[in-house]
């Protein structure tokens, strides 16, 4: 495909996207001359270029559309729903042909005569009433528009510039195309992107990927420079600067890959319009947070799940108007799309105010399908029952709600979002509506991972799948790991955890080394609902890794999701926990599907905590907030301002020393200190503790009589224990004392 055609395709597709947006807006305000002008321009641009490039079919279609749009724009015809529907059809047909040009290098064989006839028929009344006076602005435009001959734009009519005969397609850059409407009409611009158009330019994603690679390379070179110059005082300042510039550069390049969510949200109004007509619903669409940004590749991945979610909300969520009225609701339903950033995630919520999900129906359906026994089903909370909707095969034709199975395609949503490292949550209140929440990581390119060692090689394990680490000291492996025939199991807090030995998995031929002659570590992983322990020989540091794709030959092995270059320039393969579970035969059959759900039932009611001791007091930290536990000499801890901090290479970790362990230790001592590194939102905090006791599941406590959950305390090992909250720890501003959110009942009650 030559450059001209490629350019034409990009321009046209952008034009059509704009047209789609305008068409759905037009329905709300049919008199809006600016919207009409914009739509006209999109079609006109395509037509102008087709003659040039020799796309006859496209030209004919665009020509008919242009005639109809001309009549609309000149005010000869009102833009009613019928016309908009046909225009949307035109849009689809044009898209189809563009797609054919892109993929087959030809316009494709299709018959447009019906659509053309329809377009011509609709503009007939306008032709009949030809000489009717239109209102002033539209009239002025028609004058300029009607002449195909190039005419110098009249200085008094800015509208003329909008109707210039189209220049060759290459020159019709998006900046010009978007800037024009702003000049063309004195009315305030409708699309917010117009103002920014001139300061942006289009960049090939491949180029961005390359920049990302080069920055990664630079980071490695920097690391080596830092190591080499550590001894030289003069070089240190210089290499520090290199360090900072590299970090900033990396962030800038990553930002360049981000696109606003509006990129996918903009497709939704059309989908909602079509669906609500098809299903006989009345729906008002609200969209919020369109400026939230997300990595380009992730946006692409979210597109389908989002469409599914919207379809579901309309089909099974929002009721028909009559039914809504009968229920005392506004006959017009509301569908709300919301995007917002939360820490290193972007949340996309799809909320409807429809009928909600009948949880009891889900329960009976699950029993009917043999997914749950009645006893077990009775124990499940609403949240766990709703999670069942994500099970493949659960959805489809089951009559969960009145219409058909709520959950059509829910497993698709779930699978797609999990594939990119995201999560799906669902909340529903019967009679009030449902919220589907997609939690998407900000970027795919950089993943926090734990580096593990096995077979004397490094492997990266994505943190997202890792729930905890268990150390088995040498000599204890024989007693800690139980064998049930050939299946190794580990007893983790009373539950049997299936184990997979990474070395045996990767080198099946090797004679199994005697298990107890060295330390082993179990990484407890959660992959697609399967929980298992991966046994590795050693642990190295956690690292933020840049994921590099693997050759298809190696992808075929099915255990690795990519490779990465570590900080020390070593290469590491990135393990894919889901595939490992599959390869090791941990796949759960349909009958066992209920088991993880059941286990979740336990964990939802009973959160897991890390039990620590600080100067004689027991305290608990929610396990999912704990990143890692470090043991290091006291001398590594420095005091900045009046606060202790830990220098972790490139970052400073503020420490909380509520037990006074640091202040009571003799200065300059090399005695080991234990620091629990926790994450709270975007921040990391270290907590100095005397001892790490255990991990335990804790139940909720409620205040006697009141029935409300007690904040900040929980029941662990039959003892009331304070939960540490980090909400009130100030960031590293050098003022104020570190204050921990200790609850007054912090002391352990015997």
């Amino acid at each position: 495909m030559d450059d001209l055609t490629r350019e034409f395709l990009i321009e046209s597709q952008e034009g059509l996207d704009r047209m789609e947006r305008c068409l759905t807006e037009l329905e709300q305000s049919p008199q809006d001359a600016m919207l009409l002008a914009e739509i006209f321009r999109s079609v006109h641009t395509i037509k102008g270029a087709t003659g040039f490039l020799g796309f006859g079919r496209l030209e004919k279609l665009a020509h008919s559309g242009e005639n109809l749009l001309g009549a609309l724009r000149d005010g000869k015809l009102p833009a009613d729903a019928r016309i908009i529907t046909v225009l949307l059809k035109l849009l689809d047909a044009l898209r189809g042909i563009l797609k054919a040009i892109e993929t087959e290098a030809g316009e494709g064989a299709g018959d447009d005569s019906k659509l053309i006839a329809q377009l011509d028929r609709l503009q007939a009344p306008a032709l009949a009433a030809a000489r009717q006076p239109a209102h002033a602005l539209a009239g002025a435009r028609r004058k300029h528009k009607a002449q195909p001959v190039p005419s110098a734009p009249a200085p008094d009519s800015a509208a003329a510039s909008a109707s210039e005969p189209s220049p060759p397609p290459v020159a019709f850059s998006s900046a010009a195309g978007q800037a024009l409407p702003a000049q063309a009409d004195a009315a305030p611009p409708h699309t917010p992107s117009q103002g920014t158009a001139e300061s942006t330019l289009r960049v090939d994603v491949a180029l961005l990927n390359r920049m990302m690679n080069l920055v990664g390379e630079l980071v490695l070179a920097r690391n080596q420079v830092l190591q080499a110059t550590a001894a030289d005082a003069r070089m240190t300042a210089l290499s520090r600067r290199l360090d900072m510039v590299t970090a900033d550069l990396r962030e800038a390049v990553m930002k360049a890959r981000l696109q606003p969510v509006s990129y996918i949200f903009s497709k939704i109004p059309r989908a909602v319009r079509d669906l609500s007509q098809e299903l006989g619903r009345r729906v008002r669409l609200e969209m919020e947070g369109q400026e939230t940004e997300l990595d380009k590749s992730l946006l692409e991945a979210v597109k389908d799940p989002l469409t599914h979610a919207v379809r579901n909300a309309l089909d099974h969520g929002i009721e028909p108007p009559a039914e809504r009225e009968a229920a005392g609701k506004n006959p017009e339903g509301t569908l709300r799309l919301r995007a917002l950033q939360e820490g290193s995630y972007v949340l996309i919520e799809v909320t409807d105010d429809g009928a909600g999900i009948a949880v009891e129906k889900v329960r009976s359906r699950a029993i009917e399908r043999g997914l749950l026994t009645p006893d077990r089903a009775a124990l499940l909370s609403e949240r766990e029952l709703l999670r069942l909707l994500f099970l493949p095969g659960f959805s489809t034709a089951a009559s969960v709600t009145r219409v058909s199975g709520r959950g059509v395609g829910m497993d698709v949503v779930h699978t797609n979002v999990e594939r990119i490292g995201g999560k799906v949550e669902i909340e529903s209140r019967p009679g009030h509506g449902t919220t589907l929440r997609l939690r998407i990581p900000l970027t795919l390119a950089i993943v926090p991972a734990l580096i593990v060692r096995s077979l004397d090689q490094s492997f990266a394990l994505p943190q997202a799948a890792l729930s905890e680490l268990v150390h088995i000291p040498h000599g204890q492996a024989a007693t800690a790991i139980r064998w049930m025939q050939n299946a190794p199991l580990y007893r983790l807090r009373g539950k049997l955890l299936p184990l997979v030995f990474l070395d045996r998995l990767l080198a099946p031929g090797c004679a199994p080394a005697p298990a107890s002659d060295r330390d082993r570590f179990i990484a407890v992983l959660n992959a697609d609902g399967r929980r298992f322990g991966l046994v590795v020989d050693g642990l190295a540091d956690p690292e933020e890794i840049v994921v590099k794709p693997l050759s298809p030959v190696l992808k075929g092995i099915g255990l690795y999701s990519g490779a990465t270059v570590l900080g020390n320039a070593d290469l590491a393969l990135i393990l894919d926990p889901g595939s490992i579970a599959l390869k090791a035969g941990l796949a759960l059959g349909a009958e066992e599907d209920a088991a993880p759900a059941d286990e979740d039932a336990g964990s939802a009611a009973k959160l897991e905590y890390l039990l620590v001791e600080t100067s004689g007091r027991r305290a608990a930290v929610p396990l999912d907030e704990v990143l890692r536990i470090e043991q290091l000499p006291l001398s590594r801890i420095e005091i900045v301002g009046r606060r202790p901090v830990l220098n972790l290479g490139s970052q400073l970790l503020p420490l909380v020393d509520s037990g006074g362990i640091l202040s009571s230790a003799p200065a300059g001592s090399h005695a080991p200190v234990i620091v629990v590194v926790c994450r709270k939102g975007n921040r990391q905090i270290g907590m100095v503790v005397s001892q790490v006791l255990d991990a335990a599941a804790g139940g909720r406590l409620s205040l006697a009589g009141a029935g409300i959950p007690a904040g900040g305390i929980t029941l662990l090992d039959e003892r009331v224990t304070a939960v540490v909250g980090f909400g009130s720890v100030p960031a590293l501003a050098f003022t104020g004392e570190a204050s921990l959110d200790w609850n007054p009942v912090a002391e352990v009650l015997p």
Binding site: N213, L214, E217, L506, S551, V553, L554, I557, Y560, A569
Partner: protein
């Protein structure tokens, strides 16, 4: 020169006997693997990188020599020693960066030698007595002074092609990695 499917410029430069243009020259990079000298047309090579230690990939097919780091990318390498049936070497091999169907890949060789300019008139296609394995990899030879420069066919060294070839011949020896 057996396969007619070779790309046009290649077959032109290597056009054998019918020397209508005897002065067609080609630049060939010589590489050493074990005791033998092989040639790779230089226009297929992006870059030559010396002295690497490829990171092995457990469970990968035998012809995969591991992963190497190249300009911020992770390249899959093809182990020429393995393809030629030689035992693994202890040294740090060199690799040639070449372009394949699934992106760039590296070709591991024991050492890269000098770049030779050879004349098409010295070219001879594969002899018929070559065994099956060599016939697939080799693309004839140039007669040098007292030596033979056996040519490698870069297209057939593409890991995707090698994998496809291996899948077609399941009777081939199992991956001994």
């Amino acid at each position: 020169m057996s396969a007619p499917d070779r790309d046009a410029p290649n077959s032109r430069t290597l056009a054998s006997s019918s020397d209508e243009n005897a002065a067609v020259l080609e630049e060939v990079c010589s590489v050493r693997v074990g005791e033998s000298l092989f040639g790779v047309p230089i226009r297929h090579i992006y870059e030559i990188v010396g002295g690497t230690r490829p990171r092995p990939v457990p469970l990968a097919p035998g012809f995969i020599g591991g992963l190497v780091h190249y300009r911020g990318d992770v390249l899959t390498t093809v182990d020429l020693r393995h393809l030629l049936g030689l035992p693994p070497s202890a040294g740090a091999p060199d690799f040639l960066v070449m372009s394949g169907q699934g992106g760039n890949f590296g070709l591991l060789v024991d050492a890269v030698g000098e770049v030779l300019t050879v004349s098409a008139s010295d070219y001879e296609p594969n002899p018929s007595i070559l065994d099956e394995r060599s016939r697939v990899l080799l693309a004839g030879a140039y007669k040098l002074n007292g030596n033979l420069l056996v040519m490698l066919d870069p297209e057939r060294l593409d890991p995707l092609r090698l994998e496809a070839a291996q899948a077609q011949q399941p009777q081939g020896k199992p991956a001994n990695q």
